[in-house]
Amino acid sequence: MYTQALNSPEEGSLAEDAVRASRFQARIDAEERIEPNDWMPAAYRKTLVRQISQHAHSEIVGMLPEGNWITRAPSLRRKAALLAKVQDECGHGLYLYAAAETLGASREELVDAMLAGKAKYSSIFNYPTLTWADIGVIGWLVDGAAIMNQIPLCRCSYGPYARAMIRVCKEESFHQRQGYEIMLTLCRGTAEQKAMAQDALNRWWWPVLMMFGPPDQASQHSDTSTKWKIKRFSNDELRQKFIDATVPQAQYLGLTIPDPEMTQDEQGHWRHGPIDWNEFKQVLAGNGPCNRDRLAARRKAHADGAWVREAAAAYAEKRARRQMAQAAE
């Protein structure tokens, strides 16, 4: 969203760094935004590059499960909406890579790390889209969960990330509605359609709850991220917010949340049953149902496109040389 880090970060002495670090924290505490060229602790930079690039990878890998249904969308209206939505995910990946690049990482090195399996992306995209109802559930729940995560990021302390998220959130406002409309149509349709909707909800519910990350007492990064105002709500807080918003929407659809232990407490919060964190760990470790397929698809696109990128670079060089020669005449 901004130009690459223009000045290479200079190395200061430890004593100087301590002074700078406390000034930096004071700026964060005063809700000032940190911009690309500002001094920042190396760990802040590293945390952001990791988080923003993971977010970008998630958008790009996230194109695949939904892209799986573009050619089979059941009506022309749905086809156009789904294509526009998946295209948006690509755009969001681009905004995010650009935000990460302001911290001195190049998109190419970030993408290479993802293709090498060294960078993470959201675990949710390692589940398969089996029926059209999955497209509805993804829009309704996966995008719904993403929005819960992303809205607080619009106030993230790092300026380029916050600005990217503002744009993303604005554009995503149609995604969740699109998904819910698909669900509503299915639930008002034939018995077969309604069963399709319930089946999709059953398969996606628990993986969606896992999108918010491990429970607070087990999360590694939250403390410093909170101090730096990269993260403003805990995983459990966001998860709870999401569930409270979603349960009435499911009720309206006439669908059952596949959690027999789900109950409403006196404060009105819907309390979920135990989440299978072992499944989450397995998916993160590469053992989800689609991890290998997703990476293979991205690697193939990358490899198949290499000659195109090389051609474009070669042409640009030739043209620059020709222009130089012309100017010299």
């Binding site: 755009g91 650009a98 190419e108 290479d112 670079a313």
Partner: protein, 95 residues
């Protein structure tokens, strides 16, 4: 396998006639022509633009944040450059 880097471009968009071009983001493209098309496809999908500029990121020279005090603070004390510095009686009306 290392991928060769594709140049980075900064994108500026005029959203309405009468407004200035405003920085809206960046993208990668092999050359200026493709950068302009990519900017159109990426940043004006919802009718956000009437005109686009693309500039190679490497062509931008930015002020150093370390110079912030020297660069910008001297202007803060020159309050006589603002209309509110001057007193004109109310009876004179808007000026």
């Amino acid at each position: 396998m290392a991928t060769p880097n594709t140049p980075l471009w900064e994108v500026f968009i005029r959203s309405r006639n009468g407004l200035a071009h405003k920085h809206c983001g960046s993208l990668h493209a092999p050359d200026a022509t493709m950068a302009l098309q990519a900017a159109r496809d990426l940043y004006t999908r919802r009718g956000e633009g009437l005109s686009i500029w693309v500039v190679p990121s490497s062509a931008i020279t930015a002020s150093d944040p370390a110079d912030k005090a020297m660069m910008f603070e001297p202007a803060e004390s020159k309050i006589y450059r603002h209309p509110t510095f001057y007193e004109v009686p109310e009876e004179v009306g808007h000026m």
